[in-house]
C-alpha cells in the first residue's frame, strides 16, 4: 500500500502545476480584459468573407437597414 505515497505526491504535483498555470495566466494579463477577445474571435471570419464576397456588399447593407 505504500504506493499511496506516490499517488498522493503525484496528485499534489499535478495540482501545483495547475496552480502555477493560474498564476502565470494572471501575470500575463489574461484576466484584464474579459470582453474584447470574445468579440475579436468573431472577426476573423468576417474579414475573410469580406475579401471573397466583396461584390455582395451593397445588398447586405440594404438588408441591414430594413432590420
Amino acid at each position: 500500500m505504500s504506493v499511496i505515497y506516490l499517488l498522493i505526491s503525484i496528485s499534489i504535483i499535478v495540482a501545483i502545476g495547475f496552480f502555477i498555470a493560474f498564476i502565470r495566466a494572471v501575470k500575463s494579463g489574461q484576466y484584464d480584459d474579459d470582453y474584447t477577445p470574445s468579440v475579436r474571435m468573431l472577426f476573423d471570419d468576417e474579414l475573410k468573407k469580406e475579401n471573397t464576397e466583396n461584390t455582395e456588399k451593397p445588398i447586405q447593407t440594404q438588408e441591414k437597414k430594413q432590420i
Binding site: I12, D32, D33, T36, S38, V39, L42, P58, T61
Partner: protein
Amino acid sequence: MDHTKYCFHCGLDIAPTELIVFSDKNFCCNGCKTVFEIFSQNGLESYYDLEKSPGATPLSNSNKYDFLDNEKIVKRLLQFDEGNTQIVQLNIPHIHCSSCIWILENLRKLRPEISSSQVNFHEKTVRITFNSQTISLKELVCLLGAIGYEPYISLEDYDSGKKSEDKTLTYKLGVAFFCFGNIMLLSFPEYFEMKEYWLDQYRGFFRLLIFGLSLPSFFYSASGYYVAAYKSIRSRMLNIEIPIALGIVIMFVRSVVDITFDYGPGFFDSLTGLIFFMLLGKMFQIKTYSFLSFERDYKSYFPIAVTRITDAGEENIPIYEINPGDKLLIRNQELIPADGILVSAHAAIDYSFVTGESVPVMKECGDRIYAGGRLNGALIEMGVLQSVSQSYLTQLWSNEVFEKKAKRQFQSITDKVSHYFTPVLLALAFAGFGYWIFRNTDTAFNVFTAVLIVACPCALALTAPFTLGNMLRIYGRAKFYIKNATVIEQLAKVDTVVFDKTGTITSGKLSAITYEGSYLSDNKLGWIKNIVRASNHPLSRMLYDFLPEAKNLTVDKFEEIAGYGIDARVDGNAIRIGSAGFVGAKADVSLTQTVIYISINGIVMGKYIFHNQYREGLSGLFAALHPRYDIRVLSGDNEGERAVLETLLPKDTIMVFNQKPQQKLDYIKLLQIEGKRVMMVGDGLNDAGALAQSDVGIAISENVNVFSPACDAILDASQFSRLGELLALSKKAMLTIKWSFGLSLLYNVVGLTFALTGNLMPLVAAIIMPLSTTTIVSFVTLMSNWYGRRIKQAANVVKYDKYHGLRQSEKVILSTQI
C-alpha cells in the same frame, strides 16, 4: 421635413439642406462621407455590417495635434520605444461597439506601417505598435482623427507613468483556494472516521501534508488580516479584523498542537475554508468600472501642450512651462490652460466643463478669461496672467480636502457591531476557561480555543461585502456607478442633499425659449429661421430648432460678426439678430438670462429668452426627497432663476446663489460642522471641491465616458429623476445587512454552545462554518436582489443612447451573428 433620413456613417439626423448622397447612401456631412470613402477604398466596408451607423463625424482641426511634433512630449506618451518600433496606448472615448473594435484592430489595412493594434473595450483604449521610421505619432493620431476615432490625450497621460494594477488579492485568493481545495480532499478519510487499517497507518502522512498545505494560506493569504488587526489595536479601535485574526491564529496553533500530540486532525480544513471565503467576499466587494474614473482632476481635461507665440514664431510647449506674460494661441475647440487676458477682439468661450452651462460666454478684447473654458470659433490670442497651477480654477486642487479624502476613515456598520462583539467574545472565552479550569485543565484549554475558533465572525464579516458588492452591481445596471462599497453605507446615512444648479438640476443641453416683444408674423418668423439656419452659433442652432417650419428663402446678404450677431438681408428686408447693442435695443441691465434681440429694418421687434431647461422629473424628485432630507440648492450663477426655482421646488428649499468654487466647499464644510451628513450632487469642475468635501459626492454626467469630476459616484444624467429611489435602496441594503447580522449571530450562539460544553469536534466546525457562510451569502443576495428588482426593471427600459453602455453592445454582438 423628412426625419427618417439618418446618416449612414454616424446615424445622426440629416438636415435636408445638407444631405449628401454618395454611392446610394445618405451622409450628413462631408466628414462622414470621407470616412466612408476611406473605408470602402481599403476594403473595410465590413465596418458598417457589424453595426448600423457606428461612426462618429471626424473633427477637422489639423493643427490640434501640432504638439506631437515636440519630441519631449512624444517620449512621455510612448509606452515602448526601441529602434524603429514604438508602442503607444491611446484613450478613444468613441469606442462603443463591435464595429469600433473591428476597425481599430484592422488599422494595418489603412497604413501598413502599423504592425498591430489591440483594443481594450472596457478601458476604451487601443494599443498600437507602429514603425516610427515611416509614420510618426502625430500622423497616427491624425489618421485616427480622420476616421472619427479621435484619441483623447490629456495632461494626465503626460504626468503619470502607467499604473500597474494591484493583483495581490487575486494571487491570495488563488493560493487560498488551492490550499482549501486540497486540504478538503485530504481530510475526507478523517471525516468518515474510517477505522480501516491502511487509513490509520497513513494518518500521519495525511496530516503532515495537510499541515504543509495550510502554511501558504495561513502565512500569505491571511496576512492582510493580521496587519489590519495590528493596526486597529494600535489605533485602539475594535475592528472586525481583531476577532478574525485571533480566530485564525488560535485555530492554527490549536491544530498544530492537535496533530503534534495526536489529539485529533485539527481544524486546518475550516481554517483554510474561512480564509478562502473571506477573501472571496473581499473580491466580490470590488466592482471596478474600468471605463470610468473617480479620481479625475483638472489634469484629465487639460491639454498637454499649447502654442506659444514668441518673436521667433510659434512653438509648442508643455503647459507646465507656461509663464505669466506669455502669449498663447488658442484654436477652435481648444481648452484655455491658464487665466489670462483676451488679446483678440472677440471670443466665445464654452465653460461647460467648469460650470455645466453650455451656452458660450462672449468675451471682448481686454476681458479676463479663466482656465478651463473651451474656445468656440476662430482662433484667438491671449496673454497669460497666472501659471497653470495658480489659476482660479486649478487653485482649488491645492485645498487639503483633496488629500484628506483618501485617508478619511469611516466607521462601517461591521466595525460598529464588532465594537460590541469582540469584548463579549473575549469575555465568553475567559468565562468558559475559568469555569473548566477547576474541573479539567485539558478541557479548559480546549474550550478556550474552541470558543475563539467557532465564534470567528466569518459570516459576520461576509455579510457586508456580499450585500454591498451585490448592490454595487444593481446600482451599476441602473447607471449609477459607485466607487466602492463604503459609499453605499454613507449614502444610507445622508440627511442633507445639496444640489448644484447649472448642469445638475438643469440639463446642459437643452434650453427652453420664450419670446417677448411685438408680434412676429409667420412671414417674419420664416425670415429669421432662414437666417439662423446658416449660422453655427449654438444659440442660432437652438433658435432654428425652436422656430416653426418655413419654406426656404434665399438669404441675399449674410454676415456673422463673432460676439455680436448676424447681419442679413432677406426679401429686401435688413434683419439683425444678436446682442442688444448690435441691433440697437436698450440692454436690460436687470435681466440675467441669455437673450437674442431681433430687429427688422432697423426697428427692434423683441427678444428671444433662453431659459435653463430643468431636468425631467425634478419637481417629483424634490417632492419625494423633501420629507426625508434637508434639500439645498447651491449655484454659481446669479439670482435670475430664483423665482422659477421657487415654483418648482418645495417651499422651504434653501437656495444660495453667487457661489464660487471655494465658497461651495466652505458651505458644505459648514453644514458638516452643524452635524449634518451631506450629499453633494454636482457636475462641473467648479463643484469638485464641494464633491470632495461632502460625505458622498455624486457627479451627474451626460456622457459617463467623457466627463466627470472626482467624486464618490457617477450618475448617468438620464437617471437623475430616480435619485430618490436609489437613495431609498441604500437604506434597504443596510436593513438587509442588519437582518443578516442577526442570522449570523444565531449561528455563533449554536457554535458557542458546542464550544462551551467542550464538545466542538473538528467535524462540527467543518460543517457550521460553510453552512453559515452559504446561508448568509444566499440570504443577502436574495434580499438585495429583491429590493433592487424595481430598479433593474426600470433600467431595462432606458432608451437607446448613442454612446451606449456595455449591455447594449452585447445586444449588438448578437445581432451580427444572426
